[in-house]
Amino acid sequence: MSSYTSRARHWRLQQMYDIIRLVWFDLKRELTPPVWIIMEWITFMIQLGIYGALISQLVTGVSNYQQFYAVGFVIMMTFDIGSHTGRHFVEHAHEGRLPYLLSLPISRSKLFLSIALQGGIELALMITVPLAITLALIGNVTAVSVVAVIATLFCLGFGVAGLMLGLSFIAFKSTDIYTAITVGLSTIIIRFSTVLYPLMFLPPGYASVAMLSPLTYGADLVRLLLGFDPSILLNPIYAVAVLIALAVSTLGLGTLLLQRLVEGVKSA
């Protein structure tokens, strides 16, 4: 019995090592040197320091719009990384890397977990500095609210990655159509959301469309956790429910679709 337990433990450890290997093999190349991450941080600082500071002088409806804008920009970065992870997977399929990954001696669920984990680590690396700057700018935040903010961002990131994975079936018909749809969708999802402006200030037509954007729920929940005026934000219970539902449904659906589609497509 103890020998069986020991073998099972060894097997689980081996599987965990394999997941870490897969994640690290790709990630270390992206981090040597970590130019793109540093560029994102610099972009955030410039946007916040120049544009955010100037635009906040013009906005009167929201007290300290620069802080509002900083949170919105972190949400946009989260969205970018999430959609990048989803698109990255599709690119792998077309570059021929996916068939290789699918032939490795690990289960499909572990392979998809490694992809999700890599996306999560990239997200963490990317938003660490912008989030730290935002928190410093807002000030007076508790450890609990910071943890809740991070959990919200990851939930949103996974949801967006799952959404892009779910759309990947289009890429197997045409990568051009997939790129056009995802870029177009990204533009709409960001603009028709509360990332840059509160829902209550939007005209009714715009507001009803913004309620369909996952970023609306992510941005408003993060702002609520960081102490923004609740009267200009959505009900947090709705936001939590929508974000969890989004992450679970799109990741689940995306994985299911890929398991059926990737292995049914001649991609090698």
Binding site: P99, Y100, R108, V265
Partner: protein
């Protein structure tokens, strides 16, 4: 038990049938070569066996394991070298091989030695620290093959292992594949290169339009072609009763056609030259006709392909 066994295996891409009810077997520890033109279903079959693609209908088993029900277990005993090495553009060959060896369970203590040995043998050692995107086509192909040679799986699949590789490189790859088999691996190779098939195959399966046309040892396939062997015969000048001898030679079992190409010179199209030549020498001995030279040319696998499918390997296309 067969190492590989498929029954009624069908794969459809939309309305196109890549495999049409394929029945196919590979014996343990043999080198089976799949020979067929582009689009004949070779790569599709390999990818289904490697559990990279899902089958549409039928069954496929690798070492007794079902590709649909036990794909992870199959991947633990199998390795595949793809037709094209792509994907890891910003990695170095040595890194790629270390990663592959580690994830395929090559013992840590053996990895460095195996990687160095294979990289040196396939002339990749000098390029070990180049980026993958800077490798030539031949180098990236050799890298792809190296993965399997280092992994040494129980069942190894090679998809066109020496395409894009120079002649010397081809020889080295072929020697390594043979060595892999000698070490106990079962090997399945897809190719449309006749020479590669002739050099490596224990048995050949000819695929055409998603179906197995014929499967046998190379020798047997060649022997199946009636009159496929060409024997050119030179007798000593002044042999007696030339016309009678020609008639008797024509009557030897296995002769399809025999013509005189000069005085005391003949060209015969025969089935199984290895049986026909001893009969011919006995006859000549009895008739006191001295044989000066015998030259036998056997049919190539291209001729075999032509014989069984009715089209030449290089030009055949389908779908």
């Amino acid at each position: 038990m067969y190492a590989v066994e498929t029954h009624n295996l069908t794969k459809k891409y939309g309305k196109i049938h890549a495999l049409k009810g394929l029945n196919f077997t590979v014996n343990p520890k043999e080198i089976m070569v799949l020979l067929g033109p582009n689009g004949s279903g070779k790569t599709t079959l390999l990818l289904i066996l490697a559990t990279v693609l899902k089958l549409t209908s039928g069954t496929a088993k690798v070492m007794g394991l079902d590709v649909t029900r036990q794909p992870t277990k199959i991947r633990q005993i199998l390795g595949i070298s793809f037709q094209e090495a792509r994907g890891f553009w910003r990695h170095k060959p040595a890194e790629i091989l270390h990663f592959h060896a580690a994830i395929c369970g090559v013992p840590k203590g053996e990895r460095d030695a195996r990687i160095e040995e294979i990289m040196k043998d396939l002339e990749l050692w000098e390029a070990r620290n180049k980026l993958f995107m800077h490798l030539s086509g031949g180098q990236s192909k050799r890298l792809e093959v190296s993965k399997l040679l280092i992994h040494r799986p129980q069942f190894a699949i090679f998809d066109e292992p020496s395409s894009q590789v120079d002649l010397r490189g081809k020889r080295r790859i072929w020697e390594q594949i043979r060595r892999l088999r000698e070490e106990g691996s079962t090997i399945l190779i897809a190719t449309n290169e006749v020479r590669e098939a002739e050099y490596l195959a224990d048995r050949v399966t000819i695929l055409d339009q998603g179906k197995s046309v014929v499967c046998d040892a190379v020798r047997n396939l060649k022997d199946e072609i009636a009159g496929g062997d060409v024997v050119e015969l030179q007798l000593e000048q002044g042999s007696n009763n030339t016309e009678e001898l020609r008639r008797e030679l024509s009557n030897i079992e296995g002769t399809v056609d025999l013509v005189a190409t000069g005085e005391d010179q003949y060209r015969a199209h025969v089935s199984m030259a290895e049986a026909w030549v001893p009969r011919m020498t006995s006859l000549c001995y009895e008739r006191k006709a001295r044989v000066l030279s015998v030259r036998v040319t056997e049919p190539s696998l291209d001729d075999v392909f032509l014989h069984f499918t009715g089209k030449a390997l290089e030009t055949a296309t389908n779908v």
